[in-house]
Subunit: 522 residues, 2 copies
């Protein structure tokens, strides 16, 4: 399937040019269409800039010309390493307009981690912003075949293009065309690229609108990293809905609170840890304005004390369960439903189906815990170049999330646990295997077990237990520092315990629950 | 292409049963999915009844079992002859749930007209409500191969079924599957069935939501006949959006005005003539409540005096241009935009593209009059069993509407004229050829020309000019009465002029403009 996925990436082509009727699978190219429909409406607020949809469309056209001049063609993959900002946005739209797929890179990953992804997806070009110039440069030897291009040079070197018209672009988008490849670390510790089509993103946007509603005055604040599917989804929804995205370079509670008051934010996407800090930063006597109609909280279950605080302070929390493989939201509990179903992640969106499966794959009745399966047009066609993982994840036509939960009799989803080899810290997924692999590469370490323990702010924090080789010694601080040079900051164990041996069952399988309990006791 | 369309109607099949993954072209069956998501929300208000989505789903399941027991199978076509009411609604959903296509019949057509449609689509079954029992009975000899079934017997004879669970139904819908075949008279006077897929309807619903917004408290009043695409679309939107439809059996201005006040109607679909009567019925001193956020006016351009009256009385008019072949709305001018663009039908919806074409088919620049073309996933795959008409209408991948208009520089559409052989009276299309054919079938008539003249209430009214055979005579009243037995009331000429010959050009083509001018002068 991986080869199929790879070779299926189609060449850039205009429906009209081919003389084919736009099929029922095609819709007009969203940004240029939106620019024709709502040219003067604001599309992006970022720092002190405001771009209308017409501005954005022109900037994207110029960027697309710049990319085409560097040799980008339909069917290519282009890696993007950038902070949240206009540069990120314009490259996403320009790459996809050329019929190439965008591969957003995790800006907190190390050069080694990033290079692995760039090689894995076969990116012909790496576009980076100024803030990531050093990292991009340090990748040069690791990915010699990939051209590195500063984004700032893309529009400039081709005349700025603000007044040159819309330039080359797809007139219409086939919904099965690949839009993006979004990487996660993968359970085995090697990176795994989730292929997302235009259809996956579009059906997700439509399902979210049906669930949360859509108003003329909506403004969505994006302070999540755009390289995450949850951030990327906001960008695309803004275009589909024709509403402005208020883009923050990073999450700063005071700045977010200020914009909610002053910029008429109606929706904001956060993870629990961010919401905690927003509430801390704000006086209880200073309520959020009624214009804020939805605080979408993803990245893991929302702790009950936080839900209580939100109820007390009239914060319209919408808990959501989502994942990269379904282009973000799968279930969402709208604010009006929150009090009646505390702790639930809500019901499936209109274009998704959720099922709870037992060990044999059969659907379980309400109330019974099992694996969460997802089906529908928002679900990925598979992982890039990973036929076995794709087959396994999509067996029987259902996405097997590996997450554990149950549906109540009314169909509300309760997520009880991510699978036990994934730690969710501040909304980031940390795969235990990847951290264990790094720890085991230290000469003193014989074996390592990594797990998460509850953390009031981050949901979970990463901890490790290691057993050392006979006769050698290493300190906790040294091991943490060893990890720091090889892993993104959020993956680094906060604590390392030493043990003679790791808890394992008879078959030798690591017992992560026991590992976790030892950490919580000590 | 007609054969293809016919044979393409697929058998009823469940995605899950086939073990196939739900493709990116499939979405969950909308009504059962909506019933799971919002079981207790009201779905339909009709007379004094209120059905929740769970109620409606159970009723539809029982109706589907009843239909299956009469022999309806996936791929069949089922004709439906009913007033606006619960019976209409449940048959639409039950037929499509079985994988059959619904063919709503125009309740104002004569038995002869109706029988022609039933034969044309090869309907195996005609479901009718009590009000249409006589008409259905009178069709018996005309369509002997078609089973006639009163809708009231459908759920009853199979146990009522309100508590029998959801019954047999499709778990998911392929978007290219045929949902309905909606008939218009056709320019040649023979009926023409427009095939509409699930995808056509769904993309239309989504495009409308993106344009008009979607709110939790939305309630859509349907007083248009449901057998029209504009009425049918409201039913389907209600399910997709999860909002109630307030269903009126017929248009009564006082009842509509009362429900707007008392039932919190937020959106209503009407044609100009209906809106005129609503305003007449209501005191100017009695403003419409602010909850009414959108009065969607279709079925032809809205006269300027009416727009002025709406502006004066703060009626939130949304002019729309739509047609059966695009599953209803193509362009819509949201209420906020109305004053800046008087007389415009607005911009294309997000999932539609509009182009103005000259005689050679090339796109014309802004401001120039030409034929209105439409493209996108809301456009029909074609006419049932009419390969040549389908080819002609969809040549080059664009739907050729035959309507005349222009786009301004900003992309707002102005419809100047329906094609001159179509008269739009009270939102109904009357094809001149059909009326001419009936007139010419009178033994005294040599030739007949039919056209429309402006009417302050109905937009246009039908008028005719005939020349008689030598030596025979017939009165105007006799000719009108002759038409009355053969045509639906709205198609009957209000006036018949007699002339020695009809105005024709050198090639013998009837000059309808001259015909119209003669009627307006006399």
């Amino acid at each position: 399937m991986a080869d199929t996925l790879r070779t299926r990436l189609p060449e850039s082509a205009s429906c009209a040019a081919l003389g084919r009727p736009a099929s029922s699978q095609s819709v007009p190219e969203w940004l240029s269409h939106r620019a024709r429909l709502s040219p003067e409406r604001p599309a992006i607020f970022c720092d002190n800039d405001c771009l209308t949809f017409a501005d954005l469309d022109r900037l994207v056209a110029a960027t697309a010309r710049g990319l085409a001049a560097t040799g980008v063609r339909g069917g290519d993959r282009v890696a993007l390493l950038a902070r949240n900002g206009i540069d990120f946005v314009r490259v996403v739209h320009a790459v996809t307009r050329l019929g190439a797929a965008i591969v957003p890179l995790h800006a907190r990953w190390s050069a080694i981690e990033l290079a692995r992804v760039v090689r894995d997806c076969g990116a012909t070009l790496l576009a980076h912003d100024d803030a990531n110039a050093t990292t991009a440069a340090s990748m040069a030897d690791l990915v010699p075949a990939t051209q590195r291009v500063p984004i700032t040079t893309l529009a400039e070197q081709h005349g700025g293009g603000r007044d040159e018209g819309f330039g080359p672009h797809l007139e219409c988008m086939n919904l099965s065309r690949v839009h993006s490849v979004v990487y996660t670390s993968g359970t085995s510790g090697t990176p795994k690229g989730t292929v997302l089509t235009y259809g996956n993103h579009l059906w997700n946007a439509m399902g979210s609108a049906l669930n949360l509603g859509l108003r003329d005055d909506d403004r969505w604040l994006a302070c999540l990293p755009l390289y995450h599917v949850g951030g990327l989804a906001i960008l695309l929804r803004g275009v589909v809905y024709g509403i402005p995205v208020v883009l923050h370079e990073r999450f700063e509670p005071a700045a977010v609170n200020r914009d909610i008051d002053e910029k008429g934010i109606t929706i904001i996407s956060v993870v629990s840890a961010m919401l905690v800090r927003m509430l801390e930063e704000r006086q209880e006597s200073h309520p959020y304005p009624p214009s804020l109609r939805c605080v979408l909280v993803g990245g893991g279950p929302v702790p009950h004390p936080l839900l209580d605080a939100c109820a007390r302070r009239s914060v319209p929390v919408a808990q959501t369960y989502g994942l990269t493989e379904a282009a973000s939201q799968v279930t969402t509990l709208p604010p009006g439903d929150a009090l009646g179903h505390p702790g639930s992640a809500g019901k499936q969106l209109f274009f998704a189906e959720v099922r709870i499966a037992g060990k044999d794959g059969d659907a379980l009745p309400p109330g019974e815990l099992g694996e969460i399966l997802v089906r529908g047009p928002t679900v990925t066609p598979g992982y890039l170049d990973l036929p076995q993982e794709t087959e396994a994840a999509l067996r029987g036509g259902w996405l097997h999330t590996g997450d554990i939960g149950y549906l109540d009799a009314e169909g509300y989803l309760y997520v009880r646990d991510r699978r036990d080899d994934v730690i969710v810290s501040g909304g980031e997924n940390v795969y235990a295997a990847e951290v264990e692999e790094v720890l085991c590469s230290h000469p003193a370490v014989k074996e390592a077990g990594v797990t998460g323990v509850p953390d009031t702010l981050w949901g979970e924090r990463v901890v490790a237990t290691v057993s050392l080789r006979d006769g050698v010694h290493v300190s906790e601080a040294d091991l943490i520092s060893f990890c720091r040079s090889r892993l993104a900051p959020y993956k680094i164990p906060r604590r390392v315990r030493f043990a003679g041996a790791l808890p394992r069952n008879a078959a030798g399988k690591l017992l992560r629950r026991a590992l976790r309990e030892e950490h919580q006791r000590s």
